[in-house]
Structure formats: structure tokens, C-alpha cells
Amino acid sequence: MAIFTLKTDARRRLILTAEDGQEYVDVAPVRAFPLSDPLHAISICDAEGRELVYLDSLDELNADQRALVEEELAQREFVPVILRIVNTPALTEPSSWRVETDRGHTTFEVESEDSVHRRAPRQVSIVDVRGIRYLIPDTRTLDLHSRRVLERFL
């Protein structure tokens, strides 16, 4: 069990108190494998990005701390899951994608087909020109049109 405590301050920043009583303001939990293993290998870093604590698994935390970490992770992570591709993006660069995600409808630009990656046999990730990542965990869940579109980019 890790020996440290987490709390938030009036500015809703996460504060970590280490074993020796040292306080670190504005710490951030970071997943080491956000795509392949999101629940394990979690690191808590200070505001400058230096690792303070490393957790093998979120289970090492007690319920309150875990809730804090999970809430903070949810606030930081923004990887919309694409449910449907609405338009037919042109094969030219950059292409414009209109999609329906788990966070609502949006439009984004993709620099080139190099930005569309197959990570696992059925998992696809897309990075737009702003660096925002979009995920398709399982291409089989998409409708025919979306799958056709993806096929052209993979």
C-alpha cells in the first residue's frame, strides 16, 4: 500500500502529501498505457511532470483516494470514442471528418492517412491536426458506411 494522501484545495487542485510530509500542489495522475492497459501502471506526477508516486494498479488506493484520482483522470482525458462517421472524408489532405462520438457530434481535420492508425486488429485511433485523439475500440461496432470510410484510410 502506498503511503501518501491526496486531497483537493479551494482551487480544486489535487494535493499530494508524501510519506515525509512534503506537500505537492497540483499533481496529476497519468496512465502509462492509456490504450492498452488503462487500469494499471498509473503514475502521479507533480506540476513539472516529475513522477512522485507509481501505482501498479488503481486497486492500491482506498476508495476515497481512488475516486479523487479517477475524477482527475476523467477531467484530463479527452479521447472521444467515435460511434459513427457521418460524412465521407476525401482522400485528399487534409480531410475533414464529421463524426458522432460518445461526447456528441463534432468535426475535425485529419492531416493525412498517416494519422489514422490500426493499433490492434480491430482497434483504430485517429489523431487530428490539433493533436486530439479519437478512438474506435472495435471497428465491428460501426455501421457499414463508417467501416468503408475507415478501410480507405487504413
Binding site: R11, E48, R76, E77, P94, R103, T106, E109, V129
Partner: protein
């Protein structure tokens, strides 16, 4: 509503979209002036939802719409919630950007009262608002930072916001700005306008050669009906016309030959010139673009844009456009001829054409899809090759040959499978295309035979019709390829125009000041630099005297190279200014200014050519004596003399046969020859051994004499002759002073110095770790104090 001009003014509000203005119209109190705005695109659960925050001279207004109400770049319907906060000095906006998603928090006397969330696309707006508030609180006004030149801006067609030329999508609403590829294809004609007359000549020749190709069937008709059929039927006919018909056939062939020759020649002449023009235009523009553009692009991609894309356009113009024109003309003329001979048969003949054309197009489309699958599989092979051949040393060092062979085999098998599948489709569909065209001809035969039986037409007319219609259907196949060829050429045109439309972000000043002979006094005033949304340099202040040598040290990522890039004007500052001899460097013409700056890089890049040419790269007119003098000063003269061809030796691609130290000395000679007033050494000695370093040090000490020098170095020992050392950490200057003074102070520089000494004297690794840890903790203390 104020009149909006197309050039970006210092008035931030002028760029605001119309719908925000109309939204405010009912809310603003009389006399209240809006200053700036920000459109977050997420709600607090990080779902897409439109919102807008407006800063006025009295209040901060916030509107939030429910998710999914954004239409055409603006929210539809009524806001879900509205808030207004009266401005007070206790209000504070804090912007925090994480990867992809950012947070703008509003504090009142240190307490969080509101939060807005946004994606990286809107980060610029968030910064504008938070900067706007603090500027208004401090100075009572919101102004854009004074910039020498601002590129002209464009207006977003969707939301009306204005943005800089060169953006891919609207920074406010995210709508795509890229023009459609077909538009790019049309733009080719503006490039081709120069060759209008030759183009028209080509078109006239096409018309003539197509027409001449239609003569032979027309002549066979009377040959058959007036002579051959009656002769076979046992009738006596006048044979005097036969030789004329045959001569006519021969003449038509000769005419068609000559015209086709001329037409091909003219059209390829034009298309070659269009693509050559496009190539030189693209390359010229590429050379003028700022370094930033190259940072974000892969070299291979840029090379292919300049070479193969322009080539593809040329091929499209000379082959496809020509063929297509011929086909269209052929169809129109044939139809006219057939109608004039026998309109009933002509109508029946033409009737199935649209259906069969449609079917052929569909089949071609499917085949095109199959081929692109094949190309993709092929691209994977190329990727593996491009990956492993340059990295062959790593592959061998880790003994991973087997694994790479397996990887290649997998890709190879995929190519095989895809091609098998494609071939299956292709062979079948190809046959289908043949069948369809045969069907078209069959229709003519059917109706023709029926008419011949009923003696309403002659056999000659029928054979002429069959001859015409077969040409027709034969062309359908190639016409259907036109669709995909057009798409590909349009994509190429777009990629080429993608370069041409890019505006250099480092812009030339409108009223330039000529630098002349600079003294080399540098003054860095409150300089900040952001790359995208990431802050790299924060409020740097530094004055450097002429002839002074400054050593720049700090961990990698501290911002040393960024500062150098700003000094060379590879990038422009985001805030503040860099003055040289009292003039903002943005006011100098870029080329003239850079000629006053000498740059020696860690990895010297030598071009293909002789040593002498490389030394004289910055000053093509330098005399041999000057080149030798520069080489002497750079301690390169002697080793150059030892080369088989002396100064005339060729430097292989990237200087293969010179050692690292030798290349470095050639590049020092190159910098010496332009006699710069400001010299920048970017880790010039870090890639060589200590012995060579000593040689280079001597060369450098010649170089820096009397020049303002800024040197980055990892080995602090090389900076001992520096007048002052500047220590950077996380984009800020933490210490400035002479070597000895900084050592005495015992802070950041002393720590770095000690760490290096320890490494050199070979102390045990674990002791060193303790030291570093101690250093880390001290750093954290520092961060605590500042936050």
C-alpha cells in the same frame, strides 16, 4: 455594426463572428463595449456543446447551450444558462492546457467560481480571453501585441471569425477551410493561362484529328452499297469511283496520322510547361517558407509533392484530358454523322449507350477500389523498407534480422492476398466491360439486320454504323477511367497548391530597415515564445554587449535552441521583442539580417560539391585566397591539403568521407567567411571526441574574436572563455553571470558543473544518483515558491 476590413487590426473584437454580436445586442448595457470573446466547445462533462464567453469593459458574460445544438458553426436556439460577473480586480482567469483538452478557470478572490472546458482547437481563444482580462485590469485596454507585420487574414465561411492565412481549420468553430480538390484542379488553368494560344491550337488539332478519324467508315458506306454489294449481286457497275474511294481512305489515314502527331506534340508541349512552371513555383515557394513548416512535414512527403505530384498533373493534362476531349468530340461527331445518315437507326443505336455507359462506370469504380487496396498493401512494404534500411545498424546490433524478415514476409503475404483478390475482381470485371460493349454493338446488329431484311437500309449503312458504334464503346472504357484519374490529379493539384497557399509565418516587414554593418548589441526584451499552445519561453530579458560571448546552458528542453531559433528569426517571438543595435529584428529584411548571423550547428550539413564551394556557400563570390584564409582560421586548411584533390575534393552526400571533426571545421570556415557580427554555436563540439574538440576549440576562438557570440554547450568546460553564462530552466533564465561568480553562488550552474566534474572524474554511479536526487529536491522547492 462596425465595418470590417480584411486585414487584421489591433482591435481584437473586430474578428468576432456576427452571431456573437447579435447575441450581445440585447444584453449589453448602453455604453458597454465588448472587448474580446472566447468560444469553448465542451461542457463540464467534456461533451461537445457550444458556449461563448465575452469580456466587456464592465462585465464577463457567459452563455452555455445544451450539447448537440451547434449548427453551421454557431449554436442554435436559446442558451441553457447565462452568467454575468462584474469586473473587479479580484477576478482572475487561469488557463490550463493538457494534451488535447484545456480548462479555463475563473477565480474571485482566490475561489473558483466557474470553469470552461475546451479542446485544443479553441486554446487560442482561451488565451485571448485570459490575456484580455489581465491586460484590461492592468492597463485599462485590450490590445494585440505590437507586431511589425501581420499576414492578411481570411474570414471563416461558417462562423464568420477571422484567422490567419495558413490555418487548416477555423480556430473558432473548427470548420474546414481547405478548398475542395476539384477547385484546385480548376486553378491549374490559371497557371496554364500563359499557354492559352498553344492550348487552343492543341484543341483545334484535336478537333481536326478526331474528325479525320471519322472519314474512313463514311467512305466505306458508298464503297459497299454502290460497288461491292451490286458487284457481288451480279450487276454491272461503274468502277471508276473505286480508286477514289480507296485513295480517300488512304488520304484520311495520312491526314489522321499527321494531325495526331501535331496534336500530341502540341498538347505535351503545353502540359510539360505547365508542370515545369508548377514545379519551379512550388520549389521557390518552399524555399521561402519559414522553418516551422518544415518542422511539421516529413521530408519524403515534401519531395513527393514537388516531384511526383507535379508529374502526375502533367500526365493527367497531356494524356487524360486529351483522351477525354477526343472521346467527347468523337461521340458528338459520330452521333451527328449517324443522325444525318439514318436518324431511326441512329436513335436505336444511341439508345442503350447511357445505360451501358453507366454500367461501365460502375464496374470501373469497383475496380478502382480494388486497385487502391492493392496500392495500400504495397505502401506497407515500402514503409518497412524505409524503416529498416536506414535503421539497419540497429536491426543488426539487436540481432533482429529474423524478426524483420518475418515482418516483411507478413506484409508481402498481404500484398499477395490483396492482389489475388484484386486480380479475381479485375479479370471478371474486365470481361464484364467487354461483354457490355459487345451488347451495345449487338443492339445495332439486331435492329440493322431487321431493317436490312425489310430493305429499309443498305448493308453498307449497317456496316458503317457498326464501325462507328464499336469505336464508341471502345472509348467508354477509357472514359470511365477518367473519373478516377481526375480524382487523383485533383488530389495532386491540391497537395501542390497546399504548399503554394502557405504563407510564411515569419513575414517580411512592410517598411524594412536595412541592417548594414551591425555592431552586434543584442537586447532580448520580455520575450515569450509559444509553440502551438505550449509555452516554450517565458518572459526572457537579457542584454548582450557587442563582442561579448554568452554561454547558454541548461537541461535539454530548457529552451536554449528555441531562443537561438528566435535569434536567427527561424521563428518569431509570440510576445516581447528582440532588438539588435536598437532595432526590432522583425523590421530587418530577413535575408539581410541572416547574412549578419553565423550559425554553426552540432551536425554540420555539407552539400554535394567541392570543399571550396561548401566553404563559400554563404558568399558565392569569395576569392580563393579568402577561402583559404577562412579555412586556415578554422584549422581546416591542413587536413584539406591532405585530401587527394585538396580544395577541389568532392564532399560526398552529407560529407561521407570527412570525419565529424573535419566536417565541423569546414562548417566553421563557412561561418567565418561571411564574417558575421553575431555568431551562434549550437553545441558545435558535442559530437566529437575530446582531442578533436580541442582542435575545434582553437578554430572557434578564432571565430568568436570581435563578434557577439552565443554558444550552447553541454560540456561546460568549453564555455570557460565565455564572458557570461546564462542558465536556463523550463523556458526561463534562472542565473546570469561569469563562470567563477556562478560557481561561487552555488546554485543551478554550480550544480550542473559539479555533476559534470563528477562524471569526468569517474565517481561511482550511485553517489552521483544521490547528488542528482538532492538537486531534484531543491528544484521542487523552487517550484513550490513560485507557484
Amino acid at each position: 455594426m462596425p465595418e470590417r476590413s480584411l486585414t487584421e487590426s489591433a482591435d481584437t473584437w473586430a474578428a468576432c463572428p456576427d452571431w456573437v454580436r447579435s447575441l450581445l445586442a440585447e444584453t449589453l448595457a448602453p455604453g458597454e463595449t465588448p472587448l474580446t470573446w472566447f468560444e469553448p466547445d465542451l461542457d463540464c462533462r467534456l461533451h461537445y456543446a457550444p458556449a461563448v464567453v465575452v469580456l466587456t469593459d464592465r462585465r464577463l458574460l457567459s452563455y452555455q447551450w445544451p450539447g448537440g445544438t451547434r449548427q453551421n458553426g454557431r449554436p442554435a436556439g436559446e442558451p441553457e444558462s447565462r452568467h454575468a460577473w462584474t469586473l473587479s480586480p479580484q477576478l482572475e482567469l487561469v488557463q490550463r492546457d493538457n494534451t488535447g483538452v484545456g480548462k479555463l478557470e475563473l477565480f474571485l478572490a482566490g475561489e473558483l467560481i466557474s470553469t470552461w472546458r475546451y479542446t485544443a482547437a479553441r486554446a487560442a481563444g482561451a488565451r485571448r480571453l485570459s490575456d484580455g482580462l489581465s491586460a484590461f485590469q492592468r492597463y485599462g485596454k485590450v490590445g494585440a501585441s505590437p507586431v511589425a507585420v501581420r499576414p492578411a487574414s481570411l474570414e471563416c465561411a461558417t462562423c464568420g471569425a477571422r484567422f490567419r492565412v495558413g490555418e487548416v481549420s477555423c480556430p473558432e468553430c473548427g470548420a474546414s477551410i481547405a478548398k475542395s480538390p476539384m477547385m484546385s484542379l480548376l486553378r491549374l488553368f490559371t497557371v496554364a493561362r500563359k499557354y492559352l494560344w498553344m492550348g487552343l491550337l492543341g484543341f483545334a488539332l484535336t478537333l481536326a484529328s478526331t474528325a479525320s478519324g471519322l472519314i474512313p467508315p463514311y467512305l466505306t458506306m458508298p464503297l459497299m452499297d454502290d460497288i461491292l454489294v451490286p458487284v457481288q449481286g451480279g450487276n454491272i457497275v461503274d468502277l471508276s469511283m473505286v480508286k477514289w474511294y480507296l485513295l480517300g481512305l488512304a488520304g484520311a489515314s495520312v491526314l489522321a496520322w499527321g494531325l495526331t502527331w501535331a496534336q500530341m506534340f502540341v498538347m505535351s508541349w503545353v502540359s510539360e510547361r505547365v508542370s515545369a512552371d508548377l514545379r519551379i513555383k512550388t520549389y521557390t515557394h518552399l524555399q521561402q517558407l519559414s522553418l516551422e513548416y518544415f518542422g511539421g512535414k516529413r521530408t519524403g512527403d515534401l519531395i513527393s509533392r514537388v516531384s511526383s505530384d507535379t508529374d502526375r498533373i502533367c500526365y493527367f493534362l497531356s494524356v487524360y484530358v486529351l483522351d477525354f476531349l477526343t472521346d467527347i468530340l468523337l461521340i458528338v461527331m459520330t452521333a451527328a454523322i449517324m443522325l444525318s445518315i439514318d436518324w431511326e437507326l441512329a436513335l436505336v443505336t444511341l439508345f442503350p449507350l447511357p445505360f451501358i455507359a453507366y454500367l461501365v462506370f460502375r464496374v470501373q469504380d469497383r475496380m478502382g477500389h480494388g486497385f487502391s487496396l492493392g496500392n495500400r498493401a504495397w505502401a506497407e512494404i515500402t514503409t518497412i523498407l524505409a524503416d529498416t534500411i536506414p535503421g539497419i545498424r540497429v536491426v543488426k546490433a539487436f540481432a533482429q534480422e529474423e524478426r524483420e524478415i518475418k515482418r516483411f514476409k507478413k506484409a508481402n503475404d498481404r500484398v499477395l492476398n490483396t492482389n489475388d483478390r484484386v486480380n479475381k475482381i479485375w479479370s471478371f470485371f474486365n470481361a464484364v466491360v467487354v461483354l457490355l460493349t459487345d451488347l451495345g454493338v449487338l443492339v445495332v446488329w439486331l435492329f440493322g439486320v431487321y431493317r436490312v431484311f425489310h430493305h429499309s437500309i443498305l448493308v453498307g449503312v449497317l456496316t458503317t454504323f457498326v464501325a462507328y458504334i464499336s469505336r464508341f464503346y471502345a472509348r467508354l472504357d477509357s472514359m470511365s477511367r477518367m473519373v478516377s484519374a481526375t480524382q487523383r490529379a485533383a488530389a495532386s493539384a491540391q497537395r501542390v497548391f497546399g504548399i503554394l497557399d502557405r504563407v510564411p509565418k515569419v513575414a517580411e516587414a512592410t517598411n524594412p530597415v536595412h541592417p548594414g554593418r551591425l555592431e552586434g548589441r543584442i537586447s532580448i526584451q520580455n520575450v515569450s515564445f509559444r509553440y502551438g499552445t505550449r509555452p516554450i519561453l517565458k518572459n526572457l530579458d537579457l542584454a548582450i554587449e557587442p563582442g561579448e560571448m554568452i554561454g547558454l546552458v541548461g537541461q535539454s528542453g530548457a529552451g536554449k535552441t528555441s531562443l537561438i531559433n528566435l535569434l536567427c528569426r527561424f521563428y518569431d517571438v509570440s510576445d516581447g521583442a528582440i532588438l539588435v543595435d536598437g532595432t526590432d529584428i522583425r523590421r530587418f529584411p530577413i535575408g539581410e539580417y541572416r547574412r549578419c548571423v553565423g550559425l554553426v550547428l552540432q551536425e554540420p550539413f555539407l552539400f554535394y560539391g567541392t570543399i571550396a564551394e561548401n566553404i563559400a556557400y554563404g558568399r558565392a563570390g569569395a576569392s580563393r585566397a579568402e577561402i583559404i584564409a577562412a579555412a586556415r582560421a578554422a584549422r581546416a586548411h591542413e587536413f584539406i591539403l591532405r585530401l587527394p584533390n585538396g580544395y577541389d575534393s568532392l564532399v560526398g552526400e552529407r560529407g561521407q568521407f570527412l570525419s565529424g571533426g573535419e566536417r565541423q571545421r569546414v562548417s566553421i570556415a563557412r561561418a567565418l567567411l561571411i564574417d558575421p557580427r553575431i555568431l551562434i554555436l549550437d553545441e558545435a563540439t558535442s559530437s566529437v571526441d575530446t582531442e578533436t574538440e580541442r582542435e575545434i576549440q582553437i578554430a572557434l576562438s578564432n571565430l568568436i574574436k570581435g563578434r557577439t557570440t552565443i554558444a550552447i554547450a553541454h560540456r561546460l568546460s568549453t564555455l570557460q572563455q565565455a564572458n557570461r553564462i546564462v542558465v536556463m530552466e523550463r523556458g526561463e533564465i534562472v542565473e546570469v553571470g561569469p563562470h567563477a561568480e556562478l560557481l561561487e553562488r552555488g546554485e543551478a550552474y554550480a550544480r550542473l558543473y559539479r555533476a559534470q566534474l563528477d562524471m569526468q572524474s569517474g565517481r561511482l554511479a550511485d553517489e552521483e544518483e544521490d547528488d542528482l536526487e538532492a538537486a531534484d529536491e531543491e528544484d521542487v522547492d523552487g517550484a513550490e515558491k513560485t507557484s
